[in-house]
Symmetry: C2
Subunit: 464 residues, 2 copies
């Protein structure tokens, strides 16, 4: 999709700001194209937070009590401890209205109403954690839901019929087509997953074009949750995380994608396309950077095909900087990036070289599906989406404990999920002690941007 | 490793046949190089089964009662219903003696005894399911345990010290080396896993050289279980399967690798290296083979990056034969192979073309580790290894039910695990009804070769 086409489409059927509620999309309201270069905080924080940094302070912002988010969703955020000029996290919370129509017809033609309702309504929450500047996260927070809306509308018959049809037009070339679809076990949810995958890819292309046109740089992670037709889809590209907290259990609804978790994919690409390393990097992993006097020794190593470790006789070429280096949060791809999936970074090069990072990145999310019909959702069951600033400090189990005890003690406040979000973000941010941010036990708190959605799930399958 | 080197090494420190027991390896006994072209059944069946096909009959063979396998292991096999000339399954069951020594010393030098025992004793079971002829499976059944022995000996300090050393020689270049190893959380078992991965790769190279030298063709899957130092390692490349049957649960200890399960890896390779398809195949997956009148239609498809399904406007190029085609057991890679991992197939080309299949295959196993110390192994807990002939007919749960009820009713016979193996193989083979093989409920039985090891695990951590 070209950037121009996208803008045209965007201007035509874009979002409206729905005062007193979250953004509402796709009903043809007027819409101004957001200027990517205009830094801002999430729209639902307007009047609360300008985005201006308060020197030395890190206040926690929540949506105002008089403008609740959809589903009573809670949200809180805090800026980093001056590691970057801006809070590089961004957030979006809105409905996505998917028009039921026949594909292949021109925009100008009348819609063919296939079912009694003209729209499928989806509910969408997303977090974006920017790096190398705030711009990619801002564009993604403005565009990704449009890409999702568009991709869902393109395949809408595939997600409204009991079984996705082989042909989108409904024509039948081969009488046993539905049998082939059944044999492959292709279901509605597979078509939604495909639409989400393609939407991330399209949003990445748009970001690349916008950033090139405006001479901006940077990238962002993307974690998006979409509730559609009784199922929750969690799409993740990066190191944010989603978990479902229930009374007795914690269900992870995403995996993190970092140079460490995607080592074998990245090393294999370097094996298949060695030119991408321009003789400056080695694709082998060693426990530490090698030195001259390691040459000739047999040292622990891993190559792309290995889940285990072997020993390799060190050659001079092994002294090059490793494709993936460091451990834990310090792990870097090409000495540059801490994440291996996300949007943007099209222009990113290894410092002082012509080596591009983008070929090693993936913009495709992993999508996990949570079916409300097959799970027993109880009161106070809550979906937690948060950027790595939270998860670096709090484990899944610690978050679950805070969630459970907070909700038990705060039963009636309709704003309680934002207070809970504030409580979680506050816990991870800690308190200021001189120039440091520390937890109650005096260990280091998070210096990063932190953003969290707390989404109550009870009775949603009945409501929506 | 060259074939010549291997033969030399093999002849020097190869296996001896230990009458009255399984093969015993590595103690310098005399050994004749097996001729790959000499078809045979597993050594432990000698005197029981010549390998000759009995027309129209499919007797089940077990080891003789007076030559029990290690650990009281049960084994049974049956030939296919004349789909190929030979039983293309092969099996090995033996000890692997890993010499503790300092690496880097020549074979001729004295061994440096590092610990009180000169050898680490491992126990090994493996199944190989051949295709395109029996030769690759025969070579693998003769060689893989030597490759494993050799790879383990090469890194023996890494698997005997509490923490694998950074340098195999024990020299210390950097004082904090052990800290780097600890930070990466590299453990003994990771070095065993690496050795198994490298052993499969080496065995594959040997097979390639042997097959080329003797003008043979074909390949095989490989499923190997190794018990070493209180842990069970299950390495799998192909569509055989290992499960642990316990009283209350079934623990899968392998995953299958087929064109269906490895679709994304295979499609991505075709995307990165399109020349491998020589313009004859399309890398896209469709629910069925496309036809001329599908052109211009939007049809369900998947590309390498997609776990879900999308719709694609069909072009002429999409009418090419798909890289991966069919569904379930009928799925084929390049219209040729039903498995995507295994050993051999170096010369395999798509019929009537110059398109090579080997680049799309992986010889690297997935290795799963089962730690006896952290699991409560009870009496009658049993490890089941079997080729796909069994699993095509019986589910994990059905096998577990047969295992539990058989063992409950047969408490005292020391040969009971072979009788159990016979019972399982018999169930999957079914009975002959005219020209058909059917189960008790008249549904089709297995027409494939079937082989199964039944390995009792109780008290093994204490014994070995």
């Amino acid at each position: 999709m070209s950037s121009i086409w996208f803008k045209k489409h965007f201007l035509k059927s874009g979002s409206s700001t729905n005062p007193g509620n979250a953004e509402s999309l796709g009903r043809g309201a007027e819409q101004q194209l957001p200027a990517a270069s205009l830094y801002r905080r999430p729209k639902f924080l307007r009047g609360v937070c300008s985005g201006e940094r308060l020197p030395g302070r890190r206040p926690i912002y929540c949506p105002p009590r008089d403008r609740p988010l959809q589903w009573g969703t809670g949200y809180a955020e805090v800026i980093n401890a001056e590691k970057s000029k801006f809070n590089e996290d961004q957030a979006t919370c809105c409905q996505i209205s998917v028009r039921r129509r026949e594909i292949g017809m021109e925009e100008e033609q009348d819609w063919l109403i296939l079912c009694s309702n003209q729209y499928l309504i989806g509910y969408y929450w997303a977090l974006f954690d920017g790096h190398g500047g705030p711009d990619a996260a801002i564009i993604a927070s403005n565009y990704l839901h449009y890409c999702i809306k568009q991709k869902l509308e393109e395949v809408v018959e595939g997600i409204t019929e009991a079984q996705p049809p082989m042909h989108l037009s409904g024509c039948c070339i081969c009488p046993s087509d539905s049998q082939f679809v059944e044999e492959k076990q292709i279901q509605q949810e597979d078509v939604v997953i495909g639409a989400l995958e393609n939407a991330f890819q399209e949003c990445d292309e748009v970001i690349g074009q916008e950033m090139e046109a405006t001479n901006q740089s940077g990238g962002c992670t993307a974690l998006a949750a979409l509730y559609l037709q009784g199922k929750l889809y969690v799409a993740n590209a990066g190191d944010s995380r989603a978990i479902l907290v229930q009374k007795q259990s914690v269900v992870p609804l995403s995996s993190e994608f970092t140079p460490e978790t995607e080592r074998q994919r990245i090393q294999q690409l370097a094996f298949l396309c060695p030119k991408l390393l321009a003789d400056e990097f080695t694709r082998f992993e060693f426990p530490r950077r090698l030195k001259g006097n390691d040459i000739g020794q047999k040292i622990l190593y891993r190559d792309y095909s290995m889940a285990g470790w072997g020993y390799k006789t060190v050659e001079k070429a092994d002294l090059k900087y490793p494709l993936i280096h460091g451990h834990g949060k310090q792990t870097r791809l090409l000495g540059t990036l801490a994440v291996s999936r996300g949007l943007g970074d099209h222009q990113l090069k290894v410092i002082d070289t012509d080596i591009e990072v983008k070929p090693f990145l993936s913009c495709i999310p992993q999508v996990k599906v949570f079916d409300f019909a097959s799970r027993n959702i109880k009161e106070d069951d809550v979906l937690v989406l948060a950027t790595d600033g939270l998860w670096d400090i709090l484990s899944n189990e610690e978050v679950a404990q805070i969630v459970r005890s907070f909700l038990k003690e705060n039963r009636t406040d309709p704003y309680r999920f934002s207070e809970l979000a504030r409580c979680l973000v506050h816990t991870a941010r800690g308190k200021k002690n001189g120039h440091q941010w520390i937890l109650d036990d005096n260990s280091p708190a998070s210096y990063d941007d932190i953003s969290a959605f707390l989404i109550p799930l009870y009775n949603r399958d009945a409501d929506c």
